[in-house]
Amino acid sequence: MHQALVDLYYGFGVALQPHNLMWSFFGVLVGNLIGVLPGMGALSAISILLPLTYTMHAVPAFLMLAGIFYGSMYGGAIGAILLNLPSHPPHAVTCLDGYPMTRQGKGGTALGITMIASFFAASFGIMVMIFASPLLVKAALKFGPTEIFSIMLLGLLAGGTMARGSPIKGVAMTVVGLLIGVVGTDVNSGTIRFAFGFPELSDRVELVALALGLFGAADFLRSVNRLEFIGTETHVRLRDMRPSMAELKQSFFPMLRGTLVGTLFGAMPGTGPTITTFIAYALERRVSKTPQRFGHGALEGVASPEAASHSKTQVDFIPTMSLGIPGDAVMALLLGALMIQGIAPGPQLITDHADLFWGLIASFWIGNILLVILNVPLIGVWLKVLRVPYRMMFPCAMFFIAVGVYSTNNSLFEVNEVLVFGIVGAILMALDFPLAPILLGYVLGPLVEENFRRALLLSRGNLGVFFQRPISLAFMVLCILLVVLQMFFAVRAARRKRRPMRSEPAPAVGATVPATND
């Protein structure tokens, strides 16, 4: 503990050197801007800027690249809240309550809470990194295919019913998502499933294209002839963006729960950020006393997933830095950047390159503070975007979507995917189907299947393995409880219905809001 503080002090010394500070600032600035652009992820930004780092010293180079990564997370929520357009898939779930808040004129508050949740969660993630890395690594290695299957199954069960409106429609859309998730090459047999002859589809449907199609393009297509502004606010003062004390209180525990979810998922390499935010949202809805408010602008529905995505982002660095195992493509690229610098990633990195490791951690903090300072005044600017007429906003946003999606794989195929999912999404929205469960099914399905089959491969076909391993058993029990409780409530509700009923509590704020996507 004491040693960690000494190391951290040393790290701040490294990170605060003007040269390093400058590159760190440059990184978060680029990341923040990239983050606002739909589909343009940290991956493309980092690979574009990678050649720049060849001639740089390792420390500033890495601080800059890492800054792009966590900086991009800050920008992502802005589009989701204000335009119902998630810049990155993890923020899709923020649309569900963030956009209704904007329509109620509380977009500034939602952004404010997002900033607070982000900073809180990132700080927590950094603390975990400093003090609990070895512990977390040890715990992370205990999560094999068996455990991951059980957790993901719980996520699927909890999330399948998270949409508002008809539960049957919600489950139906989850199944659609699972089916879309099936597309691609089967890991075990090498069979290409439902690719219809497109080689591009042998690598699964592109997540970014799916998210932007369903959440961005579909909504735009639906409102092509709408000529009004989105927001109702005409002038916004800084005071409007500052959440009130009550709102802060209301979002504190969701923020904390989201942070913990993000930390847990950050420790497990291979579980993407999108799963994390969806699970955080589903959990929040489960524990809420008033779940009917979700989807109509519940502040908790913004605070929790946003916190989760930021703590996940920071904690993601633990398996990457201390095990040398990248959690996702961005992390793989960051490790690649280190190797080009002649630094071998892996367990010895922390001792061999202490300046890099502790400098990085200190720069996380500095970077996050810079991001908050950068973003608070910008909220006002973003809110002005709402006053841009739709006829101008629509083509601009579509243009950025196309560019961003193209950049994910340098291919036009993904842009066409957006179009297809946009049209499908618009039709489904017109029929009042919720769209969020599709994305949930899509991200969870393949993980559930892959780990289920891998666990059975390892246990030589013994299904009992899911109940023999303690962590897995705990989550399986939760799964069963969830199903049983759901049935119990359904039966009770059915019984009550037979008796004469009092008038049902109408959704307080959603009534006047036209159904947007869920």
Binding site: L43, I46, S47, L50, P51, Y54, A140, L141, K142, F143, G144, P145, T185, V187, N188, S189, G190, T191, I192, P199, E200, S202, D203, P269, G270, P319, L323, G324, I325, P326, G327, A329, A332, L333, L334, L335, G336, M339, I340, G342, A344, P345, G346, P347, Q348, N409, N410, S411, E450, R454, L457, L458, R460
Partner: protein, 328 residues
């Protein structure tokens, strides 16, 4: 410098440039006069990208033209390879080919949209890495012989992870089973990183994977390196035996990376690229970047590379056939 000497130098320059102009065909005389695109058929950050990026940078410095790395991942490298197969043969589109795209896939995929031999002009092999056999430290083995003995005494107790079906790691594992007569369970993952994670956690006991992916873990003592599959020992791990030394006769596989251009590339450009690429490969800065990672740098001539590719296609084709792996 006096005027007469300056004039003499001027004459010499004219003569020299005339000589160069005569020696090379007109089409390739001014090559390259615009940036060259190096297609990497896998996403950024992967092992192929790691070889391609330094090569692109140093090659660009030598050619005085930018060499741009263009990641076109997808379908096991097929999307990038097909793109280069159909590109004009002018030397401005090259591919960082792998043992997968230009040897294994021919036998692995039922339908391949390109022909790894007919559609390409081989330029030069760039780098190679042996496949390593690593074990979780808790598994009571310290040599290849131990693995064989344990697998024979307790059949079904050992599983090996791989980066996926039909990867060099998977096929080397299957070749190992065939050569030694033991049975190991194969557990495929989506890429190397998750497979290494499960090996560290003890979910799997063994893993076959190109050396550079597991070397950091080996150096930290979290994995035991039992053998490497190359003909000679690896410079990055000189005290680890090869499979042949460990008693598995005639056992050799390598994962490799090399540069191909579209078919029918003019010989002048082939020669120029081969010369410059081999100069990069021989340079200290390139070697110093790759060797510590467990990758061996390899230079050769276009003819040698073509012959090597044929041998590799035959070798891996047999392994694919024996293992029953297939992707349609």
């Amino acid at each position: 410098m006096n005027p007469s000497r300056r004039r003499l130098l001027g004459h010499l320059l004219v003569v020299a440039s005339c000589a160069i102009a005569v020696a090379t065909p007109a089409a390739s005389a001014d090559y390259p006069d615009k940036p060259i695109r190096l297609i990497v058929p896998f996403p950024p950050g992967g092992p192929t990208d790691m070889v391609a990026r330094p090569l692109a940078q140093f090659l660009g410095e030598r050619l005085k033209q930018q060499v741009i790395v263009d990641n076109r991942g997808g379908a096991g490298g097929s999307i990038g390879a097909e793109l280069v197969a159909k590109a004009p043969a002018d030397g401005y589109t090259l591919i960082m080919a792998t043992v997968g795209t230009h040897a294994i896939n021919k036998s692995l995929y039922k339908h391949l949209a390109y022909d790894p031999v007919k559609d390409f002009t081989p330029i030069s092999l760039v780098a190679a890495a042996p496949v390593a056999l690593v074990a979780n430290p808790k598994v009571p083995v310290s040599s290849v012989a131990d693995v064989i003995a344990l697998a024979k005494s307790k059949p079904g107790s050992l599983n090996f992870g791989s980066a996926g079906n039909g990867t060099p790691g998977h096929l080397t594992g299957e070749m190992f089973c065939a050569a030694t007569g033991v049975k190991l369970g194969h557990v495929p993952y989506k890429g190397s990183a998750p497979a290494v994670a499960d090996l560290l956690g003890g979910q799997t006991q063994l893993m076959f994977d190109p050396l550079q992916s597991v070397l950091p873990q080996v150096r930290a003592g979290r994995l035991k390196l039992l053998a490497v599959s190359s003909k000679t020992r690896s410079q990055a791990a000189p005290n680890v035996p090869t499979f042949a030394e460990a008693g598995v006769k005639d056992f050799e596989t390598t994962a490799w990376w090399g540069i191909f251009a579209p078919a029918k590339l003019p010989p002048g450009i082939v020669k120029r690229l081969d010369t410059e690429i081999n100069a990069v490969i021989a340079s200290k800065s390139f070697v110093d970047l790759l060797v510590p990672q467990g990758v061996t740098v390899m230079g050769d001539t276009p003819e040698e590379f073509a012959k090597f590719q044929q041998q590799e296609i035959a070798k891996w084709g047999k392994a694919v056939h024996d293992s029953g792996a297939s992707i349609d």
